[in-house]
C-alpha cells in the first residue's frame, strides 16, 4: 500500500480567481477536496462602526463601496431603510427610476458574474470580455445620470439625486434593442458547450432542503429549487405592477446557477420594457422635496428594509436614537451569508472545482468583509 497523506493547501488572498481578497484553507487527499475553511477579513474596513459615526446622508457614499459592482442597489436599499425609519414617502417617478437602475444593475452583474465564472473555468478573457461588453455600455449610462461609473451615490432619502431625461431614455432604448440578441448569443455559444457542461454539470450540488437551512438567497437559492424572490414575496418600490417570471432550477449545481442567471437577465429586460412604458404616467418628481437630506433626524425606533440584489437579499438594519447618526447600523450582506454553504458544497469534488463553485456563488469581498 502506498502511504498517502492529506495535504493542506492555501488558496491565498492574492489569487486571480478568488473574486477579491479571499483565502481558503483547503485540505486535499490526492486531488479530492476533503475540507475547506474560508478565512475572511482581508477587506474589513470597519463599515458598520463608520455608519455610527457618519450622519445618515454622509453614509450614502460608503454604501456604494459595499457591493462595488452594484452600487445603485446598495444605495436603494439604504435609502429604503432610512425612509422606513423616518417615515418618508417616495414619489412614483422616483420609484420607477430606482427600479430601472436596479434592473440595469442586475443585467450588468449577471453578465459580469458569468463572464468571471467562465474565466475561472479556463475560457480566459474571451467569455470575460463578452460579459464586460454590455457592462461598459450600462456603466456609460450610469455615468451620464449620476456622475460616476461605479460609485454612483445616486439615491437620496425620498427619491434619487437627479432626474433622468430624454437622452438617457433614448440611449437605454438603443441598448435594450441589442440586448435580446446579446442574450441569445451568450446562451447559444455557452449553454451547450462541452467544456462548460463537463465542468459545471453536477458540480457543487446544494440540495433544496439544505439550501434554506443555510440561509442562502438569490440565484443560488433559486437554482436549488426554492422559488423565493423578494420582489415577489414582499414587493417594494413598484415591483407589484410588473409582470415577470422567477426562474427556478432543479438540481442546484453550478450549471443550474448559470442558467438561472441568464434567465434572470431576460426577466430584467422584461421589467425594463414595462418600466419604460409606465414611466411617462408616473406622478411626482424625482425626489420628495420636503425632506431635509443633510439634517435628517429620524425618530427613535428601528427599521429593516431589504431588496433583491443580484447576489441575494441585501438588507440594512438601522436603530435610531433621535440624533443625526445611527445608533446601530448593520448590513445583511448576501455574499457573506451565502458563503456559509461553501465548505459543504465543495466537499468531495476536485480541487479545480472549488474555484468554479466559488465563482458560481458570485461573491464580492466588499460585502463579505464590509
Amino acid at each position: 500500500m502506498l502511504k498517502t497523506e492529506e495535504l493542506r493547501i492555501n488558496i491565498g488572498p492574492q489569487h486571480p480567481s478568488t473574486h477579491g481578497v479571499f483565502r481558503m484553507l483547503v485540505t486535499v487527499d490526492g486531488e479530492t477536496l476533503v475540507d475547506l475553511k474560508p478565512v475572511f477579513g482581508y477587506l474589513h474596513r470597519n463599515h458598520e462602526q463608520l455608519g455610527e459615526v457618519n450622519s445618515y446622508l454622509q453614509n450614502m457614499p460608503f454604501t456604494d463601496r459595499l457591493d462595488y459592482f452594484n452600487s445603485m442597489i446598495n444605495n436603494h436599499a439604504y435609502a429604503r431603510s432610512v425612509e422606513m425609519l423616518a417615515g418618508i414617502e417616495v414619489p412614483e417617478r422616483a420609484q420607477y427610476i430606482r427600479v430601472i437602475m436596479d434592473e440595469l444593475s442586475r443585467i450588468l452583474n449577471h453578465a459580469t458574474a458569468l463572464g468571471f465564472m467562465l474565466g475561472d473555468m479556463g475560457a480566459w478573457q474571451t467569455a470575460l470580455l463578452w460579459g464586460l461588453r454590455e457592462r461598459e455600455k450600462i456603466l456609460d449610462l450610469f455615468e451620464y445620470v449620476s456622475g460616476a461609473r461605479m460609485m454612483c451615490n445616486y439615491a437620496r432619502f425620498g427619491g434619487v439625486a437627479r432626474d433622468i431625461d430624454d437622452y438617457f431614455i433614448t440611449e437605454t432604448r438603443k441598448l435594450m434593442d441589442g440586448l435580446p440578441h446579446y442574450f441569445d448569443d451568450f446562451e447559444g455559444l455557452l449553454t451547450n458547450s462541452e467544456i462548460l457542461l463537463a465542468r459545471a454539470r453536477n458540480i457543487g450540488v446544494l440540495p433544496k432542503d439544505l439550501a434554506l437551512s443555510y440561509s442562502v438567497t438569490g440565484p443560488v437559492l433559486r437554482a436549488s429549487g426554492v422559488p423565493y424572490d423578494i420582489r415577489r414575496a414582499e414587493p417594494y418600490a413598484v415591483y407589484d405592477r410588473f409582470d415577470f417570471d422567477i426562474p427556478v432550477g432543479t438540481v442546484g449545481d453550478v450549471y443550474d446557477r448559470f442558467l438561472v442567471r441568464i434567465a434572470e437577465m431576460r426577466q430584467a429586460y422584461r421589467i425594463l420594457e414595462q418600466a419604460f412604458q409606465q414611466l411617462p404616467e408616473a406622478s411626482g418628481g424625482h425626489i420628495n422635496p420636503k425632506v431635509k437630506q443633510q439634517s435628517l433626524k429620524p425618530p427613535i425606533g428601528e427599521a429593516y428594509a431589504r431588496v433583491e440584489s443580484p447576489k441575494g437579499e441585501l438588507g440594512f438594519y438601522l436603530v435610531s436614537d433621535g440624533t443625526g447618526n445611527a445608533y446601530r447600523y448593520k448590513v445583511r450582506a448576501p455574499s457573506f451569508i451565502n458563503l456559509t454553504a461553501l465548505a459543504d458544497m465543495c466537499k468531495g469534488y476536485k480541487l479545480a472545482d472549488a474555484m468554479v463553485i466559488l465563482g458560481s456563488i458570485d461573491i464580492v469581498m466588499g460585502e463579505v468583509d464590509r
Binding site: 462602526q49 440561509s215 442562502v216 427613535i300 436614537d321
Partner: protein
Amino acid sequence: MALLLKGELRSKLQAELPAALDVRWANQATAPETAEHAGALPVLIEDDAVVHAAQIVPVAHFLRDTLGYDYLSNITVVDYLAFSIMELVYQFYNTTAGGADVRVRVRIGRTPEACIVPSLSPTWPGANLQEREAYDMYGVVFPGHPNLARVYMWDEFKGFPMRKDFPKTGDKYTHVTGE
C-alpha cells in the same frame, strides 16, 4: 401556513412555550431598573417576543416546524450601553407564504458571565457565520457552535470592536506619534 400578525407571536408562545417568554420585558412597569439614561433610547417594548436566552433554540424550532418560518435571515446584536444590556434580534421569514418578518429578541447582560446565548448552528447551519460575527464584534459567546473563532479581526486580537465602550480613537494596536 398563514403569516403571523404583529403581536401574534407573543400569544402563540404564551400558549405553546410559556417558559420561553422573558416576562421582564412584558411591559414598561415590569422592565428592570436601568441606569439613568440621557433620554436617548427608551427600552424597546415591542409587540414582538422577547425570549430567554436559554430558550432560543426551542423557539426557533417552533417557528420553523410549527409556524413555517423556515428562513433565518439575520442575527443582529445591538449594544445598549446605557441599559447594560445587549440585544440580539433574530429575523425569520416564511418562504412559502412570503411577507414580512418575525423578530425574536434576546436580551442579555454585557459582562462575560452574562453574555452567553446557546448556539443555533448545530440545527440551523445558516446561523454559523452570523454567530461568529456576533462573537467577533460584540463578544457574545455561543456554546455549542462548531467553530466559534473570530471572523474579521485576527485571531490574537483582544477586545470587541463594535461595543459602545471600545475606544474609537485608537487603542494599543494603533501607533500614535508622541505616545
